[in-house]
Amino acid sequence: MRRRTLLRWIASLGSAIRLTSLRAWAQTASFPGDQTPALGALAAIVLPSELGLEGIRAVARNFERWVREYRPGAEMDHGYGFTRLRNKPVSPAPAYLRQLEALVPALTSGDAASSRRAVEAALEEAKITDLPRSPDGRHIGADLMAFYFRGSDANDLCYRAAIGRDRCRSLAGSDNPPPELPKQELQK
């Protein structure tokens, strides 16, 4: 390759990388864009029906905000015992949008069973064997579940008790079992 060609190629590569980054930033900032209905349909499949329609919508909205506020490159906890410096990887938004798009036909078919099978097939294809500790960008279905089920509200729902794991609470009364979740909490 001649020097001038090489320089031109490097320059175009730089522009392509900048364009890709810009696109990823835009997709993150506006997530989920026109895929809002698909995300809602996915949430209805992977989240528990006990949350009620409004509760499921609320989790989906919180997940959207989580994606939009994601900071690629942010420092991660460097650990204790086995310690290493790591940074958050690139935004998962572009991958999520592609994955949602692939699921659209099944999610909009109106057939719950086929939607469910499509999600399961997608998770199998992505080789996801367990619920991620926190959303890791491999598949939006698993990540939406991790987002909810690893959280404090799901912990409360599982135990049907207002534990409030990630909230700051008073010491007073903690010697008793946490109070039962109010009915409306379960239905929201």
């Binding site: 310690t83 619920l131 089920f149 010491l171 010697d175």
Partner: protein
């Protein structure tokens, strides 16, 4: 070259440094104290709620910028280098050692004795507890006597801990709550704990952190804190063995070398960076490093090993009530002299292990939505106890910190490499120790229809210490019981590096107690205000 002069130059900005500076400023209000820390000041307390949220939601570092990329050591268990040190993100556990830790040689014929009397150390434990603000309930065992009550009542025992205590005590082992540097009532200008469940990033200030002490000291006119300043070498007076200066570089202004001059220098840089600096400071008169005529700098690096188990029991545990608070038994701190030697603490915490949500059922089916929740609920009917024992291991002379010439920082200084090694007696006890714990875990599991979910052995020594061990004999130690180095009259080492052995429970309170004792001795170098 910029030169700074002060009366006491403290190198390192962690918990020992904070406690030393605070006490010296009280004992000798007229002296000037400068603390030098290679990491940054993270004094943005107002942002900690947001850092906590980002840590929970995104697994981001709750202490952004608390490390130095090119200042790493092999074998180190935390990368934190900032004003406050590892105690920025400690859990606040404030267990005391026991007299046995100081009398291994005379009681068991093992390893070594400390050159300090237990009764005297106990006084400084009380002082450390007052200064840090420790809440706790006294041990019911008479051997654990204390001369003063805890400054604050113990943390409320949550429903979970009550269940776990009841379970643990079915095996005949007494358990009580772990003392912690967390406010159970407003204390020392800081808030009461409100159970945020994230003690490593306490957003309310209820858990003690050295930055609170430093901020208060900065309001005094004789105190200076120079962060982002790396001390690279200690320099002796010409023809004398006394310390003259510390040569440094500011990380933000690397082209301006700095020199600190003081009549007294104190190394408070922890178990890793204190011996490292002494080794780096070698010269023609001390070719093996300063304070190292004995060859003991970087030797006898210590810590304690640990074994743990997850045990499923018939108890209603609600994971997340207060995960950082646990139970302790000190029953095994003592060991009969006619029995095989084993000493350890025994701890229990609430846990969700084994009962967490999962994506696949036992037969491999993918679980979504309702089926995932149903599976989770079914498994969550039983509770889990996290059990751990830190056990007493004694370091070999070759348990060492050395300079690794293959790994250097941006200034070209070789970085430390730590390799722990147990002594021969400890090695010979390994099998017995493991059998003892297996039996103990099984005994515990038998109660409440328990089922052992998993057992594990730590692959590092926790709560590390050593590298500048204290002793009465200058040929086998680096410093005396006050941290004064045998070789240099005006050079002290305080805190974790001075420990000959690391006991069998968390070490921070002991590091602080020893440092407060050193402060009394360091103060005698200056005229009393009276």
């Amino acid at each position: 070259m910029t030169t700074h002069e002060c009366d006491v130059c403290i190198i390192g900005g962690g918990i020992s440094s904070a406690m030393l500076a605070q006490k010296l400023a009280e004992l000798r209000p007229g002296i000037s104290i400068t603390v030098i820390e290679s990491g940054k000041k993270l004094f943005d307390f107002e942002n900690r709620i947001e850092y906590r949220r980002r840590s929970i939601d995104y697994a981001e570092n709750p202490w952004p910028g608390d490390f130095i990329e090119d200042q790493a050591a092999k074998g180190v268990i935390s990368r934190t280098m900032a004003v406050g040190g590892s105690a920025l993100h400690w859990g606040g556990t404030c267990n005391r050692f026991s007299e046995e830790d100081l009398r291994l040689k005379s009681m068991y014929g093992l390893y070594t004795d400390w050159p300090i009397d237990w009764k005297e150390l106990e006084e400084f434990y009380c002082e450390a507890e007052r200064r840090l603000g420790v809440s706790g309930e006294p041990s019911p065992l008479p051997e654990d006597w204390r001369s003063e009550p805890y400054p604050m009542p113990a943390m409320v025992m949550t429903h979970n801990l009550k269940e776990l205590k009841q379970w643990g005590e079915k095996s005949g082992i007494p358990f009580w709550t772990t003392p912690q540097a967390k406010n159970t009532r407003p204390y020392d200008g800081r808030n009461q704990c409100i159970r945020c469940n994230t003690c490593t990033i306490c957003p309310t200030g209820a858990r003690y952190s050295p930055d609170f002490t430093f901020k208060r000291l900065l309001a005094q006119k004789n105190f200076a804190l120079h962060d982002q300043t790396l001390i690279r070498k200690l320099i002796l007076d010409d023809g004398k063995t006394t310390m003259a200066a510390a040569q440094a570089v500011n990380r933000a202004r690397p082209d301006e070398p700095i020199e600190y001059r003081a009549p007294v220098f104190v190394l408070a840089s922890g178990y890793c960076w204190s011996p490292h600096l002494l080794l780096l400071s070698r010269n023609s008169r001390f070719p093996d490093g300063l304070a190292n005529r004995s060859g003991m700098v970087g030797r006898y690096m210590c810590g304690h090993a640990f074994l743990s188990a997850m045990i499923e029991i018939d108890a209603k545990i609600y994971p997340g009530m207060n995960e950082q608070h646990g139970l302790i038994s000190r029953q095994f701190f003592r060991c009969k002299t006619d029995q095989p030697f084993i000493r350890h603490d025994l701890r229990i915490w609430e846990s969700a292990s084994g009962h967490e949500p999962r994506l696949r059922s036992a037969d491999g089916r993918i679980l979504l939505g309702d089926s995932l929740l149903a599976d989770w609920r079914e498994r969550a009917k039983r509770g889990t106890a996290r059990v751990r024992g830190y056990y007493d291991v004694h370091p070999d002379r070759d348990s060492s910190l050395t300079l690794d010439v293959t790994s250097r920082n941006r200034w070209g200084d070789p970085l430390p490499s730590i390799a722990h090694k147990p002594d021969a007696a400890t090695e010979s006890r390994q099998q017995f120790t493991r059998q003892h714990f297996q039996q103990l875990f099984q005994t515990l599991a038998k109660a409440n229809n328990g089922k052992m979910l998993s057992t594990g052995a730590g692959n590092y020594w926790d709560h590390p210490a050593g590298g500048c061990r204290m002793g009465a004999d200058p040929s086998t130690s680096v410093c005396d019981s006050f941290g004064q180095t045998h070789d240099h009259e005006n050079l002290f080492v305080v805190g974790s590096p001075t420990l000959p052995n690391a006991g069998c429970t968390n070490g921070t309170l002991t590091f602080v107690a020893l440092t407060l004792r050193s402060a009394d001795r360091i103060a005698t170098h200056f005229r009393s205000p009276a």
